[in-house]
């Protein structure tokens, strides 16, 4: 049974697209047929981060409007055979997405035997974000350990509870997962940042992972490769943990403690 997962946050710039790219790549690397859809019509970024912007011919809006078939629009990932990207349109605006159209596209993806369909939501709580979450079975709530991001995540959780198809039809509620990104144990230690416990205390949904703040995310975006491909970096390992937990494995939380650089770290280094 296909699972539709929305990656959302309310607030912009917290790492939705980075997380969508790495999460979908991680699922595909483990052999699951995965599609990742960019709902940020007008501001498309996913294709950049996935490094396929030069192969974009058709996009989500074309498929929704029936101007192209899904097979024409889906772009096969350059690293994984079972990962496909459906980019957003650069030239249209978010109102171009209709609920019926999205439903049709998602149903078609399900028929094509995709196991996981990842919907990368735009920021905000307007039409585009609603369209991304409407048909979700599960939600990854991407949150930075910072009050305004937490507040916006709280807001989007409320919207998922009210506006998703599952909520509207009285079905089983959308399964929510908290993904904390840009976490800096050092700044938490210095009281400059909320701890993950603080965030969880407010949002009260299960934590699926913590992605540490790292320069490797920027390198990854610039190169057009999802961060999870950068083997050995803490970010890649953290995303691998997220994927493992999502698939039901137990993994201990990592990258949450700040250790003052000691002899061992100086010898072996972490970067």
């Amino acid at each position: 049974m296909a699972r539709i997962i929305v990656v959302t946050s309310g607030k912009g710039g917290v790492g939705k697209t980075t997380s969508s790219a790495s999460f979908s790549t991680g699922l595909a690397l483990r052999g699951h047929k995965t599609a990742v859809l960019d709902f940020d019509v007008g501001l498309r970024n996913l294709d950049l981060i996935m490094g396929c912007e030069r192969r974009v011919v058709y996009d989500l809006v074309n498929v929704v409007n029936g101007e192209a078939t899904l097979n024409q629009a889906l772009i096969k990932d350059k690293h994984c055979d079972n990962l496909f990207i459906l980019p957003a349109s650069q030239t249209r605006d978010k109102d171009a997405l209709s609920e019926d159209g999205i439903e049709r596209v998602l149903n078609e993806l399900v028929k094509m035997d995709f196991e996981f369909i990842i919907c990368d939501s735009p920021a905000g709580i307007e039409h585009g974000a609603l369209m991304a979450l409407t048909f979700a079975d599960e939600a990854l709530i991407v949150t930075n350990p910072e009050v305004s991001s937490v507040r916006d995540s709280d807001r989007i959780l409320g919207i998922i509870q009210a506006k998703s198809r599952r909520a509207q039809t009285g079905g089983e509620p959308v399964k929510e997962h908290l993904l904390i990104t840009r976490y800096s144990p050092k700044r938490v230690e210095n009281d400059e940042m909320l701890s993950y416990q603080d965030v969880q205390e407010i949002l009260r949904i299960p934590l699926i992972g913590i992605i540490p703040e790292s320069e490797s995310v920027l390198h990854a975006s610039n190169q057009g490769n999802p961060a999870i491909h950068f083997k050995g970096t803490d970010v890649a390992e953290a995303y691998e943990d997220v994927v493992a937990r999502f698939l039901g494995e137990e993994r201990p939380l990592r990258f949450t403690n700040y250790e003052k650089p000691g002899l061992l770290q100086r010898l072996f280094g972490t970067k």
């Binding site: 709280d154 807001r155 959780l157 409320g158 509870q161 009210a162 205390e201 407010i202 009260r204």
Partner: protein, 262 residues
Amino acid sequence: MSKSPSSLPIEIKISTVVAISAILHSSDPIAIDAALKQMTGGVSDFFEDEFAVIDVGAIAAGATYIDWRALVDLLKKYRLNAVAVRGATADMIDAIKARGLALDDGAGGDRAREDVAAASAAVTIAPAQASAPAPAPQPVQAPAPHTVALPAMIVDTPVRAGQRVYARGCDLIITAAVNNGAEIIADGSIHVYAPMHGRALAGASGNADSRIFGLSLQPELVSIAGVYRTFDDGFPAELARQPAQIRLVGDRIDISSLTSHR
């Protein structure tokens, strides 16, 4: 804080009243009369001049003719004041308006409460005191002697930023967190058994005896019967994050600890 009484000849405020739903399963006045007679057991003040919303949703589809005048008079005989009609079809609207009744499209977000009110009024109760019907229209303060209070509205999921919960005509009990940016409102008292942030408004229809109780309070704003207090400089530190209650003393919002026993 509280506003002084205005000297204007009219003041407009939002107020919430509780009405009984009279759900019709028949449009025959004789049958309805018989059912009401049986329900009230001949007690003349079974209903105490309460407001009633006539719900014709169940029979409207059958396009039955309804004699609104007879219906309103009939309800009046049992001391029910029809004020509005719910579930009317388009062709009924003119006749309804001609009788001075309002149309209620039932778009309220408080379905749970209404269902309770509707249920208790719709159930055919055995004569006499088996159970009282839905609440009397809460005349500010004085609790009506003959009515059993509506059961409290209970919420077990977190109330999140941007969400609003309203317990109409009853107490509100929340067992999960209330977050900043959320709004919880009750005509009665509010009880929160988890950290409470956000805005809490008790006694929303004017009951000054309503209170707010919480295990761990840190609200942005509290209000009782329209008297409010904000916490721009933060909730009083000695009372924050611990069991406390908030009530109205005179026209002042008073916060007191529930742990430091007198």
